[in-house]
């Protein structure tokens, strides 16, 4: 019976084939989620810090082309570098904020965050006047008009801490603190483990469970490599004080949108800056001082 196949052997072989196909199919299942053949350049791209200028330019060209192919929009990806003697800080006047959430929506429009569901970097907490009690804060308030009597409003976003716990926990160094104080994410290096999200005491990081959903006509085409360029699914993102704007000297989008003027932004190294005036003349405080994160985001009441 050397080369005559018995019925038993034939069945055995058949079972092996069926099992093999099924297991391969199961293993390949995630591939069905991909939108096309894998981009070798994207897979081989190195960490932001290790890319040569040429590699960076190539990566930017690739990302711009990908955005054009996907949305039909011509976006530009800039990579502004931190300037010497610049450290950014933010101050927010809680006596003036009325809780209208315009900052959160301006941020969404500026930073190309997902619209379904809205992944806003800024959470506005409503609290009872008399103290800061985060336990009883509500960010789902939705009255006819704000401010409501007896309430005050506290917008919370990334505090760009000097001791950022989110950076410490990242297992792959996909997030780090820039010399001008901004904590950034390399979206092509992030593995999506969400440790940073859990480590942040301010609930400032957002995870893209799926590819950010934005209508092409709502995309902000002026983007930065480390800030608001289109993100893939499965990566972390966060407020970067709009570094593509602020490193060019402009105010962040949330500040310009605020109708009450509660927000102030500037360079801590410049003694004539708005932020220094506030730190010197107002009684500022930071949120959750006791956790030792040393935030660069200050709150104050003066009304």
């Amino acid at each position: 019976m050397s080369d005559a196949t018995t019925r038993r052997d034939f069945l055995k072989g058949g079972v092996a084939v069926v099992a093999g196909v099924a297991s391969v199919a199961a293993a390949l299942e995630p591939l069905r989620g991909l939108d096309g053949p894998p981009d070798v350049d994207a897979w081989l791209q190195s960490h932001y810090h290790e890319m040569t200028p040429d590699e960076k330019a190539a990566a930017i060209a690739r990302l711009e082309a990908a955005a054009k192919a996907e949305f039909g929009v011509d976006i530009t990806i800039s990579d502004p570098q931190p300037e010497a003697k610049t450290k950014f800080a933010y101050a927010l006047n809680l006596g003036v904020c009325v809780g209208c959430r315009k900052c959160a929506y301006a941020c969404e429009a500026e930073n190309n965050t997902s619209r379904a569901p809205g992944k806003q970097y800024i959470r506005v907490l409503e609290m009872n006047k008399g103290g800061i009690d985060l336990e009883s804060a509500n960010h789902h308030y939705d009255p006819e008009q704000v401010p409501q009597a007896g309430k005050f409003y506290m917008p919370v976003q990334c505090h760009q801490c000097d001791h950022p716990p989110c950076v410490k926990v990242c297992p792959v160094e996909a997030t780090w603190k820039e010399p001008d104080g901004i904590v950034v994410v390399d979206y092509d290096w992030c593995i999506g483990c969400r440790y940073c999200e859990a480590a942040c005491p301010y609930w400032a990081r957002r995870f893209n469970f799926e590819k950010p959903v934005i209508k092409p006509e709502e995309i902000n085409p002026k983007t930065g490599y480390l800030s608001n360029r289109p993100r893939p699914a499965g990566v972390m993102e966060k407020c970067t004080f709009c570094l593509h704007r602020t490193r060019e000297g402009r105010y962040p989008a949330c500040l310009e949108a605020c109708p009450t003027g509660a927000r102030a932004f500037g360079n801590l190294h410049d003694p004539k800056s708005e932020i220094r005036y506030i730190l010197e003349h107002k009684r500022v405080f930071v949120l959750k001082e006791e956790v030792g994160t040393l935030p660069n985001f200050f709150y104050y009441f003066d009304v």
């Binding site: 989620g33 003036v96 209208c100 806003q120 310009e256 009450t260 003027g261 506030i278 003066d302």
Partner: protein
């Protein structure tokens, strides 16, 4: 039967072939297999980033298509020191500036200067100088405003690279009832638009930073009630306490 038998080798070939076919199919089907994401109808949410109110461009009144200067009517009208209720003219003017309750604290009392403001120390001010008018009484706020700690700014924080625009007081405060007018808030975050699903906490109501109330644990999920007599001694000091929050 020694390995590899020809049947198993055939099987391996078949697996390899199936793999190739499957990969090909996966690419071909991938676009069709993924349901398109619903795009949030963001266009429905109208976000107005404009100013709170528009200031008077001139100290004048518009009636029946004509524009009047204050002086045209006020040349020879008596001026009253104390506030009054108006019957005809200006009766629609809502006035509530707290203790600052005299019209002529701000409008010049001299009929010849009816088109001008007056500062706290009596100097006439042209109507374009409304910031100086507010500043004459609200010195501290005005100083803050000059240094960027009050009022809205737009443009460049880095003045070497560009200009920053400052918003005038009257764009945010109506001089006659200066409390910042309440506005409608934009919708709360993370609300997946669509039919409401009863009994489901809104997306984002994670009791992580914010302790949004969670439904009480039903009794069926709790352990058996503890008989106070059987309870261990260490529980006694807390027996009177309320149940801890967490």
């Amino acid at each position: 039967m020694s390995f590899p038998s020809p049947e198993l080798r055939k099987g391996a070939l078949a697996v390899g072939g199936a793999l190739l076919i499957y990969v090909g199919l996966a690419w071909a089907l991938s676009s069709a297999a993924i349901a398109p994401n619903p795009v949030a109808p963001r266009g429905e949410i109208q976000v107005d980033f404009g100013p709170n109110r528009l200031p008077g461009t001139a100290l004048s009144l518009h009636k029946a298509g004509f524009e009047y200067q204050c002086s045209e009517c006020h040349m020879d009208q008596p001026r009253h020191a104390t506030p009054r209720t108006f019957v005809g003219e200006h009766s629609t003017l809502a006035f509530d500036h707290g203790a600052n309750d005299r019209c002529f604290n701000c409008h010049h009392p001299d009929p010849d200067l009816a088109d001008q403001f007056v500062t706290r120390d009596g100097r006439p001010l042209p109507f374009t100088e409304h910031v100086a008018l507010c500043a004459s009484c609200h010195g501290v706020v005005h100083r803050d405003w000059l240094r960027g700690a009050h009022g809205r700014r737009q443009g460049y924080w880095d003045r070497r690279k560009g200009e920053a625009e400052r918003t005038d007081c009257v764009i945010c405060h109506d001089p006659h009832h200066p409390v910042f007018a309440p506005i409608a808030p934009l919708p709360p975050p993370g609300v997946v638009r669509g039919p409401a699903r009863p009994g489901l906490a809104p997306h984002g109501a994670v009791p992580h930073l914010l302790n949004t109330p969670v439904a009480p644990v039903p009794d069926t999920l709790r352990g058996p009630a503890i008989d106070p007599d059987d309870a261990p001694a260490y529980a006694a000091p807390h027996a009177e306490d309320e149940e801890p929050a967490r």
